[in-house]
């Protein structure tokens, strides 16, 4: 089944059209990487999919349920958007952890407050996730006491603690220096091996190639090319894609 289905998505910022008729489906267990130059619309697509930006046209379904529809040219969002928000998690470029909460509270707050799940149970799960990430000794630390890589791994755990059907990553390593990038990519790779459904906007070409089932190249608000990583990277069809990839092959 499709976890996510986006149909004919349109988005403008004033006169600038950032998404033009984008359609995209993501299957259960699939890992999709979106690459492309800055301003190509890839982050906007993610922000529209997670309702941080509102679409100007098109449809979004999660798990076969309609979250966004366009009726008579008017975009209509589902009444209970929070029910849809439970289906996905989003990992930000700048982590956006809550600085006044400990690591553990960062992880537990949403499951306990939003999902109203029992505290003890959530605590056990979160500690288990931290152990998996090698961060169990940081449970009582505050975000400011962690390195960027550790903060990003905590923010991945925060998203996982909500048990989403699909996880979005918005340039998860762009705010990290190369030394710390590796530890975050390793975690995402591990999630891919566990068949977590993921959509990753990234500038890490080698990583996208290694981890994805499908790679999408976007430019000017459209999907220029998509396919298996070995095809997009090895047997590139579009001149625009080739041009873009050349910058990364030094």
């Amino acid at each position: 089944m499709n976890v996510l289905r986006i149909q004919n998505a349109e988005k403008h910022f004033g006169d600038l059209q950032v998404l033009r008729d984008i359609s995209l489906t993501v299957d259960h267990g699939e890992v999709v990487s979106i690459i492309g130059p800055s301003g190509s619309g890839k982050s906007t697509l993610l922000r529209c999919a997670t309702f941080l930006e509102t679409l100007d046209g098109g449809e979004i379904d999660y798990m076969g349920e309609a979250a966004v529809r366009t009726e008579d040219g008017k975009v209509v969002y589902a009444k209970d958007l929070n029910a849809f928000r439970r289906q996905f998690g989003l990992v930000f470029q700048n982590f956006n952890l809550f600085p006044h909460y400990t690591v553990l509270k960062n992880l537990m707050d949403a499951p306990v407050t939003v999902l109203k799940r029992p505290k003890a149970e959530v605590r056990g799960e979160c500690m288990e996730l931290l152990r998996k990430m090698g961060l169990e000794d940081k449970a009582d630390a505050y975000p400011c006491q962690l390195s960027g890589g550790q903060q990003q791994r905590v923010s991945i755990v925060r998203a996982l603690a909500m048990k989403p059907q699909i996880l979005f990553f918005d340039e998860p390593t762009s705010a990290l220096d190369p030394e710390l990038t590796g530890e975050v990519l390793k975690v995402i790779k591990q999630l891919a091996e566990e068949k977590m459904t993921m959509v990753i906007v990234t500038h890490e070409m080698a990583f996208a190639r290694a981890v994805s089932d499908r790679v999408i190249f976007m430019d000017g608000g459209v999907i220029v090319e998509q396919g298996k990583p070995e095809d997009v990277f090895g047997d590139t069809q579009q001149e625009r894609t080739r041009q873009f990839l050349r910058n990364y092959q030094q």
Binding site: L90, N96, H100, P143
Partner: protein, 215 residues
């Protein structure tokens, strides 16, 4: 009149000074939050009106506002001036300080990165939960030094109540100074305010330190 009698007489007014101080804080701190939220309202009319009111309250002397609140009802509507001056004093002070607190709150709220709101929204927090659990605690930490400034000013501003002859410490001191033709009561008043603010400084320093556990 010797110094000790002077101090004893002025101390009688300290309770009223404290009453102005604590009641003003009690009302203006929450009122400031309401004003700040209205000031940030999406409605241009609401935010515009509130903005104008704040600019009047900050742009005219507190003494003038106090006179207006105390004697305005009599001159405008013939309502007799209340015998308990504490009520108009606290009303004038609370409204005036709410305007200042509102602008401090607004600055604090607007300084919280948009990413905090976005993270909370994606996690499914309601707007109220986001404000109370995520934004407000961080705002409190950021605005504490500015709030301390205002509180220190308030301690000294309580002396303005002498303009409506409310018998707080400074008013009594001024009366003694007049009758005894002595400057000494003003020195005593200065020491009182300084000691009061030393306590404020100490308490607010503790509060700031208590929030030092994160950056």
């Amino acid at each position: 009149m010797d110094l000790l009698t002077m101090i004893a007489k002025m101390s009688e007014g300290l309770g009223r000074t404290c009453a102005i101080f604590f009641l003003t804080l009690l009302f203006s701190l929450p009122l400031g939050m309401i004003v700040a939220l209205l000031r940030m309202s999406k409605s241009k009319v609401v935010s515009g009106v509130v903005r104008f009111i704040i600019s009047v309250l900050r742009g005219t002397p507190l003494m003038l506002q106090l006179l207006a609140v105390t004697y305005g009802p009599y001159y405008l509507f013939g309502i007799s001036i209340s015998r308990n001056k504490l009520i108009p004093v606290v009303i004038a002070f609370a409204i005036n300080y709410a305007a200042y607190f509102a602008e401090i709150y607004r600055g604090g709220i607007e300084s919280i990165p948009v990413g905090q709101y976005e993270a909370a929204q994606v996690l499914g927090f309601t707007k109220a939960q986001t404000f109370l659990r995520i934004v407000l605690p961080q705002v409190v930490k950021r605005i504490l030094p500015s709030v301390t400034n205002e509180i220190i000013t308030l301690v000294k501003d309580t002396s303005i109540a002498f303009t409506v002859s409310y018998q707080e410490m400074f008013t009594i001191g001024k009366q003694i100074a007049n009758s005894q033709t002595s400057f000494l009561p003003f020195v005593v008043a200065g020491v009182f305010y300084f000691a009061f603010n030393a306590i404020v400084d100490f308490v607010m320093g503790k509060a700031e330190k208590a929030m030092d556990y994160y950056k």
